[in-house]
């Protein structure tokens, strides 16, 4: 059986060594190459084919996300697993969006690494426990904001009601002890949030959305 070739891209030689060490008794896997920068990695991939790439996001020459996308454009089938110490939902989701198949945090154990490789080779998406947690947090907390109707701030609600009562900007400013400029900004924001171009349309849309 020919072992599955793996490419490690990490600017930290120690990390690559650590991974190689973890995989040294796994016969069906073989670390084909360890590159410390994007240029080397791309050069290697021009001449060689690998099945799995372990990609660090912090690279000295290119951003890991960009590199991920570049590799994905050239090699549709290769499985790219992020391997970083960054546990941030934004990065994780972007990595997946750029063509990543899995996301591992560098403090993973041997079992998790093998589990990830197994999963991606099975055409599944793998997220390490911590990364999975982050993405779930994000999903939960943005639940409200993802709905179609925007959420109004307290001030926006007040201003909307006063506009509905027929007051103009300066009158509202006087009533709320705020500057006209601030009121104007709130009003503009409201219009942008409800995607309308005038105060009249704003009031109409707000009524439709049962905001007033």
């Amino acid at each position: 059986m020919i072992p599955i070739p793996i490419l490690i891209i990490d600017d930290h030689p120690l990390v690559a060594g650590g991974i190689a060490m973890m995989l040294r008794d796994v016969t069906w896997l073989q670390v084909a190459c360890a590159c410390t920068n994007a240029a080397d990695a791309l050069n290697f991939l021009n001449d060689n084919t690998v099945d799995i790439i372990l990609l660090d996001i912090s690279l000295p020459d290119t951003d890991g996300l960009t590199l991920c996308a570049q590799i994905r454009r050239m090699h549709k089938a290769v499985k790219i697993i992020g391997l970083t110490s960054i546990n941030e939902a934004g990065i994780i989701s972007q990595f997946l969006a750029h063509g990543g198949n899995g996301y591992l945090l560098k403090d993973m154990g041997r079992e998790e690494l093998l589990e990830a490789i197994d999963a991606v080779m099975d055409n599944k998406v793998f997220l390490s426990k911590g990364a999975n947690q982050k993405l779930l947090e994000q999903f939960c907390s943005t639940g409200d904001a993802l709905k179609n109707a925007p959420v109004l701030t307290r001030r926006e609600k007040e201003i909307l009601l006063l506009l509905h009562e027929g007051l103009n900007g300066p009158q509202i400013a006087e009533k709320l002890f705020l500057s006209s400029y601030t009121i104007e900004t709130h009003r503009k924001n409201l219009m942008q949030k409800l995607n309308v171009s005038s105060t009249q349309l704003l009031l109409k849309k707000a009524k439709e959305c049962r905001m007033i």
């Binding site: 060490m21 934004g90 154990g109 705020l178």
Partner: protein
Amino acid sequence: MYCRPGIRFIRQMKPMRVKPLIVCMSALLCMGGSVATLHVQAQQLNEDSIRRVIAGTGSDSVRVLALLTLGNYQLKHKMQDSIGLHTLEEGLGLAGRIRFRQGIAQGLMIKGSYYNSKHQLAQSLDAYDEMMQVAEDIPNDSIRNRLQMMAYNNVGGIYNDNGDFRNSLMYRLKALALVEKYTPGNYTNLAIVYLNIASDYRQLKMPAKALEYLDKTTAFFPKLNERLKMEYYYEYYHNYLASGKAVVAKAMLGTIEEGLRTFNLSDFQKKDYALMLAKLNGIFQLEYDRNYPRALQYYQRYEALARELKLKTEITESLYRIGETQLAAGNIPAAIASLQQSYNMAAANGFKHQLMKAELLLADAHKKNGNATEANNLLEKAMAQRAEIYNEHAVKELAFAEAQYQSEKKKAEIAALTLANTEKALKIARRDRLLLAGSLITGLLLLVVAWFYNSNNRRRKDAERAEKEQQKQIVFLERQQQVVSLQSMINGQETERTRIAKDLHDGLGGLFSTIKMHLSTLQHEVQDLRSYPLFTRSYELVNDASDEVRRIAHNMMPEVLIRIGLVPAVRELCNSINAGKLLQVKLQDYGMEERLQAATEIMLYRIIQELLNNIMKHSQATEAVIQFNRENNQLSITVEDNGCGFNVDADSGSGRAGLESVKSRVNYLNGSLSIDSQQQIGTTVMMVFLINH
């Protein structure tokens, strides 16, 4: 109606102790030498001869004067109003056609005088105003001044008639100025004005001043015509009486009687003055000497003269005076009879004032006679009469005020027209070469002066501006310096943070990761190690250390902020806060697809981080909203919580340091910051920035 050129009586509310005399300059009285042929006494006017002049072949100007004289005669002596006005207009028309300004002015004077006698004050004042305008253009100094003087004098008379003695005096003084300046040798004119001024002063209750002017007249008294001499006596008499000099006043009555006997007066004038004298003597006997039989004699003579002259007002008054005297003498039935006669005549002719006086005195007589009912009846009537008179008086005053107003308005219009005409004339005159040259030179001079002034001014202004500019630049530079130092400080800080974060991630983080990998491999290869608690604990601690490094690095500089952008970084921040369950932060973003400059994003991130820190630490809020709105190059960020709020203006307090750092960062980005906090409701922070592409 009693009417006589030059002298008029006016009614007074009080019993007529003093009768004001007003000397009115009539056209006839003052035309003087130039029209000597027409200088005739009205009473003796021969209408036929005048008509012959009008129809004759003489010059047009003579015909104008004839028409005016005839018109005046018809208006004032024959009471032929429409015929008289027609004749007058004919004269005025002819005068206008031949541009005979003196004629126009004289015609207007007759018109003004006529309307005044009809109490058509607005027309009267208009006529006099027009007369003054016309007179203005008369080239002959003496004629012009005489006409203007007469206009002033007669307008003064109108004011006097209406009880406005101040304005009357003002006009008379104007007339006097003209008289003294242009016709100092014309004693007639001088005397008329002096006498009128004395009359005004007397009615202003300043008899001392009045006597001063009368004394001035005394200097040339012998040169006066006899009629004016009589007026002079009368004025003296009234002023003596007004000053409480009854004895001298009585002597003056003797002088008047003497004058009446010796002066060469017309029959009409003789009777007129005799009537006046009888009345004044009667008043004096009744009120000062209390010699009722003598008073009665004078008053009976007064009545006889009034009847002879057919002057109804005078007859009514003479009957009243007789009744008054009889009442004072205790002869009540006779008094009632006389007063009743006066009453009937007043009622028949509508002499309201006289009617009221008769009623009052009749009531008195009936009361003394024991007829209280009749007395009360009459008193009531008298009261009603008085109310009516006051009313009429008020209406008259109003009418006069209105007339004055209209006249003033017209004057203003005329002034505007005159101004326009003057401007036109000036324009024409400008064509004159001399004037052109003059104006050129003046213009050049002005230009030079203006240039000097301007350049001086400009230099001064330039210097000021330069100084201001310099000041502004200094302020700007100082500010820039601050900005630069702040920028370099913040940038340095952020650079340092980024570097440390990277070191932590890649260096320390990598090391920990590698240790963990090694331990993991070791654990796999040496299965027994799992049973060594020290090994397991070490493995866990390395794991914790790795997490801690990552957390610190992340706080130092989130990778997502650098690599993805502000909103995902803030979202990350919110996620981790929301995971804590104490505070739920919502994030909304509009128009934030495009990334901002890295430094700006970091700065904004730090601001939001600080605000969220404050909310978590101090506000006890359970909810917060972060909102990004970007439209073109304007970005507004709203951070709102539902916490306990704080005093925005306080100098110290919890979270103050954090707020200060927010302020300085917002300033650094040239943004505006509005913090609006309400106790127990929450705080809304709004920041607006202009984004450079």
